[in-house]
């Protein structure tokens, strides 16, 4: 039974890892450049969970100081992830701008088609 208990105690990690694997899979396997970027965003978002979930203490509260509470969640991961979220959206916006330009230059955003076209020339 202890395996089951460990499994439940680490459930947050397993889902995080599942999300990460799925995101990474989309990025590597798919040929549509927009979908790849969505996959990349999912991949990054799952990492946020990896940081935030362990910061929680059961019975604690959000780290806004108040005399009514004693136990708070760890604020440091929150700060780091705020930064990471911003970096993520910046990357997404830039990636999409590049994709928009690729669409203008090639008329498609499917990697396979573009590589086929480059190979012809």
């Amino acid at each position: 039974m202890s395996t089951l208990k460990t499994f439940i105690e680490h459930y947050n990690y397993f889902i995080t890892i599942f999300l990460m694997v799925a995101g990474l899979y989309i990025v590597i396997a798919r040929g549509n450049m927009i979908k790849k970027l969505v996959g990349l965003a999912l991949f990054q978002t799952s990492v946020y969970l990896l940081y935030i979930a362990p910061g929680k203490i059961i019975g604690g509260t959000a780290p806004v100081l108040d005399p009514a509470f004693k136990v708070y969640a760890n604020p440091l991961p929150h700060v780091l992830i705020l930064t990471a979220i911003v970096v993520g959206v910046a990357t997404l916006a830039l990636g999409l701008a590049i994709v928009a330009r690729i669409h203008e230059a090639y008329g498609t955003v499917e990697e396979d088609e573009i590589f086929a076209r480059e190979a012809e020339e």
């Binding site: 790849k36 990054q44 990896l50 440091l76 910046a90 090639y106």
Partner: protein, 497 residues
């Protein structure tokens, strides 16, 4: 005076960032260039002063925001980081005069100011990664330099530049995310983000939490390897270098991968030191195999490449193989070879890519077929190309020889004499691809495009000749380069015990 001295670590990074913000407000390219050049030329002065302080007083610790580590972010300069700071800023400063004409030629007028803004961000990001003593802060600056790099690459004229930029964005972001996962795992087991603090706490933590520590090591290794284009994670690099604007290519080739190597060394030796020695993961063996594969596969790909820019990009992948080879030896001579090759490769590749930039400026092409007779039409530019090319091959008297010498000694120290043979063999392949360009340039008749070519204006020519001269100078007087590198290597190996 002393207060300025104390503020130097912050200025090293903040000045380029401030410059980038100001450059974004400017309209005219020439003003932005002047701003970028002024700041870039200040950088090696600051880096030199920092190096001097480190050599006389030992490592510098600067507390950003006045908060002591591990609560605040620390800037930490030791010999290795000071060496890399000086390398990055010095090479960029040498290249700066070249930028004015080259960028004016390749980038549209109303975009030049923003181009320099991106360049300064990239420079600031790279310096920030090198100087920081905080693992997460390194990620933030990694992303500053990465995002600006994607933009710089995408500004290439050929539409394939966009593809290259996209590809790099995807791989670079995966790399950075892996890095964040690695740092996160380290944070979970040590509770700290400060590199020195992590290193101190990792020993006891590893005893308790062996598997997360090893997973962190694996994620950091893969993440940083993506950034430094370690074979087979190099696929983004050749196209990125081939289609980026000339100045961007030269700048990135000389600096960006070097900083990634620095980060690798930092984690591998300063942080994990103890854990690596006890590791069951055999990362050094894996690194050795991949390095050798890079040296050969990338060199052979370079031989078959028709675009000279891309040929040199493959050559860069091979040269990165030499650098990681020295790391995998994990002894003092091997590491000295790696670290000194950071500088040596930056100087040689800087000269080569600048020479190509000058050829693009005159010819508009860097296909091997178009370069017929270029050696006679652009004698000084091409002489520099040949000198730096000899360095890539590793001819005695050039910088390339020095690096390979240390690598070979390092291999012998470990008793791995077949490695020496492999180093020589891979050098012979580089004779083939460099030789091919040289043969076309001197012995083929001029092609249609090269007919009217001549050496570029002085502002472009001087940086090329300067870097080529440096590649000879550091090949003869190794006091500064190899002397510092061996001191840095000594400190790193010391961390292994």
């Amino acid at each position: 005076m002393s207060s300025i001295h104390a503020q130097l670590p912050a200025l090293q990074v903040v000045l380029p960032l401030l410059g980038a913000f100001l450059a974004a407000l400017l309209r005219r390219g020439i003003l932005a260039w002047a701003l970028a050049a002024t700041i870039t030329w200040l950088m090696p002065v600051i880096a030199g002063a920092l190096l001097w302080q480190v050599l006389t007083n030992g490592p510098i610790s600067y507390h950003l925001g006045g908060w002591p580590p591990p609560w605040g972010i620390e800037y930490r300069v030791d010999i290795l980081s000071a060496f890399v700071l000086l390398l990055v800023s010095g090479v960029s400063a040498a290249m700066m005069p070249f930028a004015r004409r080259s960028v004016a030629f390749e980038i549209e007028g109303d975009k030049q100011a923003w181009f320099y803004s991106m360049y300064l961000l990239c420079l600031g990001g790279l310096l920030g990664i090198t100087i920081t003593g905080d693992a997460f802060n390194a990620f933030v600056f990694l992303e500053i330099s990465s995002l600006s790099t994607y933009v710089l690459i995408a500004l290439g004229k050929d539409r394939r530049a966009l593809l290259a930029s996209y590809q790099y964005l995807i791989m670079g972001t995966i790399g950075a995310t892996f890095y964040v996962v690695g740092v996160g795992l380290l944070y979970l087991i040590t509770g700290s983000l400060n590199i020195v603090d992590i290193a101190g706490r990792l020993g006891p933590a590893t005893a308790e939490q062996f598997r997360p520590a090893m997973a962190a090591l694996a994620f950091l290794t893969v993440g940083i390897s993506l950034k430094l284009a370690l074979f087979p994670l190099h696929v983004w690099l050749p196209n990125a270098y081939a289609f980026a604007p000339s100045f961007a290519t030269a700048f990135l080739a000389a600096t960006a991968t070097k900083v990634a190597v620095y980060l690798f060394l930092r984690f591998f030796f300063s942080v994990f030191g103890v854990a690596v020695a006890a590791s069951a993961l055999r990362i050094t063996e894996l690194l050795l195999v991949l390095s050798i594969a890079a040296m050969f596969v990338a060199s052979i790909l370079a031989v078959y490449e028709e675009n000279v820019k891309r040929m040199l990009a493959y050559s860069s992948v091979a040269q990165i193989g030499y650098i990681t080879l020295g790391m995998s030896l994990a002894n003092e001579s091997g590491l000295t070879g790696s670290i000194v090759h950071l500088l040596n490769h930056a100087v040689m590749k800087g000269a080569l890519f600048l020479a190509l930039g000058a050829i693009v400026f005159r010819l508009g092409s860097v296909k091997v077929a178009d370069l017929g007779g270029i050696g006679r039409k652009m004698p000084l530019t091409f002489a520099a190309f040949v000198i730096a090319g000899l360095g890539i091959i590793g001819t005695p008297g050039t910088v390339g020889f020095i690096s390979k010498w240390y690598l070979a000694v390092g291999a012998l120290d470990n008793g791995w004499w077949p490695l020496v043979f492999l180093i020589v063999a891979s050098s012979l392949i580089s004779v083939v691809y460099i030789g091919r360009v040289v043969e076309v340039a001197y012995f083929r008749p001029a092609s249609g495009v090269s007919e009217l070519a001549k050496d570029p204006p002085l502002s472009m020519l001087i940086p090329i000749l300067f870097l080529a001269a440096a590649s000879i100078y550091f090949g003869i007087d190794t006091e500064l380069s190899a002397g510092l590198a061996s001191k840095a290597a000594e400190a790193l190996v010391g961390g292994l015990k």
